[in-house]
Symmetry: D2
Subunit: 318 residues, 4 copies
């Protein structure tokens, strides 16, 4: 399967879906002291990320505070990321919005800016009415309109909707819906949808806490907040698994769980950004209503990072 984006916008970029595998960080959006997008800080982070063998990047995901940005800011961040992401790597844009028409529009913009795929949250405000039929229609409308392939973004912690296997299989019947980032952590469901849809449907673990178990049932990689600060470790889990080193993979997987919990479930984006600051990356403040970590929380986080073996060295690559 090969997809391209609108050739009129500057030349076709085609990308083989079989290459969509490995580790991709969902990058945070750095802000300056006044709370505006800090383009230079993002460039600084990319310089370090690009030294690692990351398969690509998700821009404007949950960790990118996408829902807290204005429409114009979203396009600014996408354009900046496009400049910094090498052509050989995936740029995946988070484009899910509350309405179908807004999602279509943002997905089109993302394609024209040069995203290679779109990651689309299920609309969730009217979750009581998001029947299987409503969701199938939504993704079909977006898939029909988009010049780039669509990945489903199952993120129950944020949307309050945990897409079940039957609904996912129904949505995936659309030819332009090609995979999923699943942050729910239900590895039975991951196994079930790979069993039903085959390995061509790209399943990516949505959190480093269950990267290895997801790989074990057939996932092809992960979109991992942890990969922002521990790219080498995330890549090692993946490499150990692919090379058949089960014990090494398990040991590293278990060691990463406390760190990962700190920058996801427990403290979320604010924790991730604080960890970046502690480790020499560009983290900076979150945008309200999110709240930055307190000083005691930062100190606790520093201990967790140290216990997990993370230091400034991660940024340099190894």
């Amino acid at each position: 399967m090969v997809y391209g984006w609108d050739a009129d916008q500057g030349g076709a970029v085609t990308r083989d879906l079989e290459d969509l595998k490995g580790i991709l960080p969902p990058i945070p959006t750095p802000f300056d002291r006044r709370g505006s997008f800090a383009r230079d800080r993002l460039r600084d982070n990319f310089r370090a990320w690009n030294r690692h063998a990351l398969a690509g990047f998700v821009v404007l995901g949950s960790n990118g505070e996408g829902v807290l940005l204005s429409p114009d800011e979203r396009l600014d961040v996408l354009r900046a990321a496009r400049e910094d992401i090498p052509d050989a790597r995936w740029m995946i844009a988070g484009t899910g919005c509350p309405s179908t028409r807004e999602t279509v529009e943002l997905t089109r913009h993302a394609a024209r800016i040069g995203a290679n795929a779109a990651l689309v949250l299920p609309p969730s405000y009217y979750r009581g009415r998001m029947t299987r039929e409503a969701l199938v229609r939504h993704y079909a409308a977006v898939g029909d309109a988009a010049e780039i392939p669509i990945l489903i973004y199952n993120m129950p912690a944020c949307t309050g909707i945990d897409l079940d296997a039957g609904t996912l299989v129904a949505i995936a019947a659309h030819p332009n819906v090609v995979g999923i980032k699943d942050s729910g952590g239900d590895v039975v469901k991951m196994g079930a949808i790979i069993g039903a849809l085959g390995p061509g449907f790209r399943v990516l673990a949505g959190s480093a806490g269950f990267l290895l178990p997801a790989l074990a049932v057939g996932a092809v990689g992960g979109v991992l907040a942890l990969a922002n600060i521990a790219p080498a470790q995330c890549l090692s889990i993946y490499d150990h698994f692919v090379s058949g080193r089960a014990a090494e993979a398990a040991e590293l997987q278990r060691r990463m769980i406390p760190v990962n919990t700190a920058v996801t479930h427990r403290w979320g984006v604010a924790g991730l950004k604080a960890a970046m600051d502690l480790l020499g990356w560009q983290g900076g403040p979150v945008r309200a209503p999110l709240v930055d970590l307190t000083r005691p929380e930062v100190e606790e986080l520093a201990v967790i990072l140290q216990d997990g073996g993370l230091g400034e060295g991660e940024k340099g690559g190894r």
Copy 2:
């Protein structure tokens, strides 16, 4: 307590909070066949609503599909409602957005357009991090910036956050947070916050299913989807209660439950709009990802409306 909005925009409108009581419909936003805001259909609905002794209206609430409208559309709907709502009645604008800064901005616009109060949803995308402190900060920021009083909008079915009594009392410490529309249905909590904050804090039932029980513990009225199609019945429950006719109030309350369930939990906005069409109001289509009722669903709804004693007469007033 008396609040006014920006005098520079056309003269001060002051409104006594003690008048915030009785029945207010959260109005749907009518669309035309192409899916655009149908201004004339809204006017037609207001002509009928204004024949009833409704205390006011909520614009851009959940039933108004506010989250599915573009920023410009939201202002268009607010301006249209302002034209159609008599000065003697409350116009309350739904202004909750994912980020604090966007909420502040929309609330300011609403005040300048002439809304008498703003109904503010808790931001919910990062619900795992919406601690009491984060929510208190958010409402304080909005309350500080707003020229009009703020009502909390507790709507767990849509936000996935059910604000607890302690958090509500903490948020209400801000002098510009003056009340709540509570759609959660927990009458113990309603009683607890009235007990803690006194009757000056305006508690409005968020659904007609529990209007009477809410009044029994001290709520002052209701913002009721049902009031869009059954204003006379909702007003009667309120009047029976206020006049001490407990048995009549209970009988009518119970009779309204199945109808109310149909246009709220079961079928939501699509059900409400279909009921409006059946009863001679201007309902029309919902916007995707919402899905209109199927024909068999409409037929089932018609039976429920009939069983509840609702007919076209409701529109005419009685």
Copy 3:
């Protein structure tokens, strides 16, 4: 409707279901220091309860730690209660067990001991398979076998099952299922089932926190943990409501909420027993795995009781 229990066991006791209304405490089971049933302590409590106009008592409910008693202990407690409860008042026995056959057996024992009705929890261990059909069958089997009328005991906080209105109406189709103690607090559901089944189906509020709202929609009384320590106050809320004193009822209802929360949701049976000790009743220890309140918790509870206006005088009647 009139029900009697097995005449062969000592003379028929018939009781008119229309008399099932008002306030009934679900009594705790007192233990001595070694953890055995303290029969004399129970008698002491009954001496005080019987000075109040309570409609009756529930024995072996959740507050009676019924599930923590051995089969023999359960019968001992039922026999003791039967001795202490005046014939003119209701004795309702909690008889729900995990299996249908055990529930049938305990219900028969309770009837022979002299209980006037049985309060039956839905079996909940295999909750994923407790379909409407399974529950209808269970209650029908119990209702068929029982010589006394059956009340459904909806207690989601303990069973994890919140029986919906449709299931309740289906279960109530059995002629020997005559009412419900609903501890879920969903007053819309209470209104819906009274609307569907008529006032002959006896709906009792399961917690004092929502007594008044439940009465407002048509409940006939309440089975209230709070009535163990504040019988006069619970009776006053009921009397105010019945006599049309809405404001007095609301004020007292709101005042009781913090006390009620302390002895239910927050600290449960251990809180109730500690409150009894503080107020001059026979409380005593709970049975493991329940844990008694710590000293700081008892001190906090004492303040809550005082703020609610409760003192030793409650025990004396007034």
Copy 4:
């Protein structure tokens, strides 16, 4: 670590905890047509199970309908199983009861009958009060009193309690609490507790749907309903994993998911027993309130079994 049971009861059985690994079916309790324990049917099943390299058996677990048996029946089933289980294999008895004292008593009986370990559910009726402290006390009391090692049984689908990692680590501080059967399916938690407690703490997957992912993070085996009807397949997943055949393990894991779902989440014990009947084992009826599968459900199940490649051959061993 080596544990023995009461030598006075017939000779010490010691068993090395390092041997607790591999696949163990949680066996159903067969009933005859009148609903009584069918001892002969159980023997027949054991004859077939014993032809497979199963590490042992769980008796009176959720699939054993333990909570639906009388105290005497439970001992009968334990004694029968003890006769049929070869000495070289583990016999683990489900002994969790609502009260601590009853759990202690049943655990002692189980040890004297010859169980090698006890699987103890958290008491769940008063789940709102099952704080970490209450649970630590409960397991400590049982661990102190038991002559056999204790395994925690985390079964949120039945208890409504999902023990978190911190609570599990706290409970495991007791020297006689040696492992867990985790049916919750949260592989992050499994990884976290193995990381915290080391591989000496025996983690067993509680359902075949996530056997492979659990093994990947360090679980040592599984207690799997599916192993009752597909012992060879469950053993193969385990063997493939241990031998480093990741792709074969994943393929078989994915193939087993639909079958496993049918006999667990979807239809539970009734589904498992129906599958046993279809595949030549002794299944038979469930006990009320459980409900046997309808004929159309049995037909659907037959197709699922066939699609999963299961036939009567499984019983014969291969």
